[in-house]
Symmetry: C2
Amino acid sequence: MSAAVREFEYIDWVRSQVKRHPRVPLGIGDDTALVRFQQPTDCLVTVDMLMEGVHFKSPPATPRQIGRKAVAVNLSDIAAMAGRPLAAVVSVALSRDKGFDFAKKLHAGIQELADEFDVAIAGGDTNSWDGPLVFSVTVLGEATERGVVRRSGAQADDWIMVTGTLGGSLAGKHLSFQPRVHEALLLHEAVDLHAMIDISDGLSADLSHILDSSGMGCGLYENRIPISDAARTAADGRSPLEHALSDGEDFELLFTVAPQDGARLLGRPPMKVQLSHIGIITAGPASCLLIASDESSRPLPRAGWVHDI
Amino acid sequence: MSAAVREFEYIDWVRSQVKRHPRVPLGIGDDTALVRFQQPTDCLVTVDMLMEGVHFKSPPATPRQIGRKAVAVNLSDIAAMAGRPLAAVVSVALSRDKGFDFAKKLHAGIQELADEFDVAIAGGDTNSWDGPLVFSVTVLGEATERGVVRRSGAQADDWIMVTGTLGGSLAGKHLSFQPRVHEALLLHEAVDLHAMIDISDGLSADLSHILDSSGMGCGLYENRIPISDAARTAADGRSPLEHALSDGEDFELLFTVAPQDGARLLGRPPMKVQLSHIGIITAGPASCLLIASDESSRPLPRAGWVHDI
């Protein structure tokens, strides 16, 4: 596996893989890249770092999956603002023991998802060392004419809605999920989105970010939460509902809308991906009640991933 | 040293350190940050990754110096395009064994230089692991009304000029250099800059980037190259000139201008930093002759840093 190649050769190879993009007048090969904004606008910027042994192990994850995922998590953040992604820059610490072939496949994964969403790979910084693979992807995007959707706009009586199904992502989806970029734009066009976030830390944790930012509480209908097949078959002692509430890396959209807009979305869905009405925003303390089918309720803990430094 | 603290607490602390910035309507705390571009413009974007054991060792480098440097190298790239830096996002893999205090000092270094150049810390991604410290800083900037300066615009008979003095940066300057942001803007306002780059890989290597991009050759006057005190006192068997030609991390500006503009800059320097006329661009093959004081000349090798993957 370990072919000794030079960074510059690798960079030249990457450059040969990258297509010209009408919004990137200057890509790899100068001191900075240029990304063109055609009108006064808000540039959306988001960054995510993936570390070998923390966010993935390879094997089993393939370099192509890892590269793809690094772009996908950032596109999911752009989607969560209902923005359009435009360009990415990639910095990477390549493991020497993995060699050139691994690095090429990693880039192929990055390029694959970037091409699918018409995102330019505008530049980067390539390094190598004897440590684990670490890389960081920064994605730039732009707001649409309707502006961006923040976490902080939830209003009392809003419906809480979610795309797709939840839980058990680590069984596979976390390496192959589709960031909900198109879905977010379609929703943004169809109705007035009050607040939105992507589910990266788990439904409970990410919902609490909306509640905290908006100064609102909520009720969540236990039997309406769309549970994934992976959560149903996990068989690890935790219930499917627990998986759906607290597993991370679903990368679905969680958003709130006025009740009439929620009903309209369910009546005439603007996209194929499943939409569910899972709860309601309430005025008052930023906490969440989980409501069972017999109408009994209990407080929902803010489960999520917390690491120690 | 090793206080176990939670990432979220660290992130909250960072958030408390970051000032509001008029061009960043939304900073840390949503899915993406927003950076406002007030008119149709080219957004400059650059990224650099710093890895412990490769780009620095700590000790002797302090966390504050490391944080400062990560911002400074990116600002140097924005300067090399004669752009204005606006905002940065930071992704970091913190070493658990270094603890919270180290991470805070690292951020203090980042913040210090960002504040000095009025650059907003707009967002980031904070992780921790048992591996070495790795972090990546992405800086966004904007072009001035005069556009950006690329590497590719050198013309025959242009003067080759450089700011500051060169060589021996690893003796200390690499941790404390001032990115030439203001100088680049002043030069850009004063004259028509044809091509520019910052010297990160060494004078010979970076000059060859200008020559390759521009399809030009050059002559370099050996006795006009501004040699730093650190290069003169290195006493490692290499001559001061060799240091000045091939040492990396000087982060000075290397640029070409028409002869009359070069003479104007020397006659009435727009800034305090030393300016030197070190050579001349020639039509023809993209190689460089080093011209001695007796007018004898020899080809200059493209020295620079090359790492194996």
